[in-house]
Amino acid sequence: MNDWNKEIEKLLNPLKDIHPTDIELQKWKRAALHEQRANAFAARPFFRRSLQFAAAGFIGFLVGWTVFGSGLIPRNRESLIAESNNNNATVEVIFSN
């Protein structure tokens, strides 16, 4: 480091004698290995995107079912003024207010 000052180096030198024990190093390595394994699946882009896609689909299904399947927005059949169910035609449903 160009800006490094020899005087500071001399002052702080005692702190540089601090070293981790072998036990500490092994503990950190085990923790890293454990974390690496835990993230191995999520780390792969294909699986990560697949997971996101599946989660988005599931949430979309839940929202759709909640809104349209649970009767929260009921169809008001009483206000139905015209309905065509011709097999060869586009189904057209018209509601009044």
Partner: protein, 169 residues
Amino acid sequence: MDWSATIDKIGPPLLRYFCGSFPRQIADELVQETIIRLVRKVETGKYDPSKGSFLKYAYGIARFVKLEGMKALPAETLPGSDFFSDQLPMESGSPDFGYDQQLRARKIRAALLRLPEVQREILLLILDKDLSLSEIAEILEMPLGTIKSHVHRAKRSLQEIVQVEEAIK
């Protein structure tokens, strides 16, 4: 990534960095927390080598962990407390780390604890000379000129504290 080799390289400087602000036992835990977060970020592709060196990235996480530690830990374990002063002797892993070295380390650490937080932070970041002042400026989100003036002031304060303590003894 070969995490075993990486930890051999970054573990010791991270321990020294945390030891400047916390008792050894807490520093050990904070190094582990830093490593876990580092592995998670790298393995999930959040580390972008184009934005700086790996070491700078590691120290950035370490600083965040340190700030979190200061908020989460009981006040009596933080720098400046009696508990912390009692923990000043350095329990080095090396059996060669003798009594005199422990005393010198304790003295310099006591002096560091009297410095303002930002000055101590800068000195601890430049302790291992792995980071440039520009990288330290990025980690601390400060202009390079401010970092340089803090280094100058920290050096002067540290010298004064050490000289006063030696004069008292």
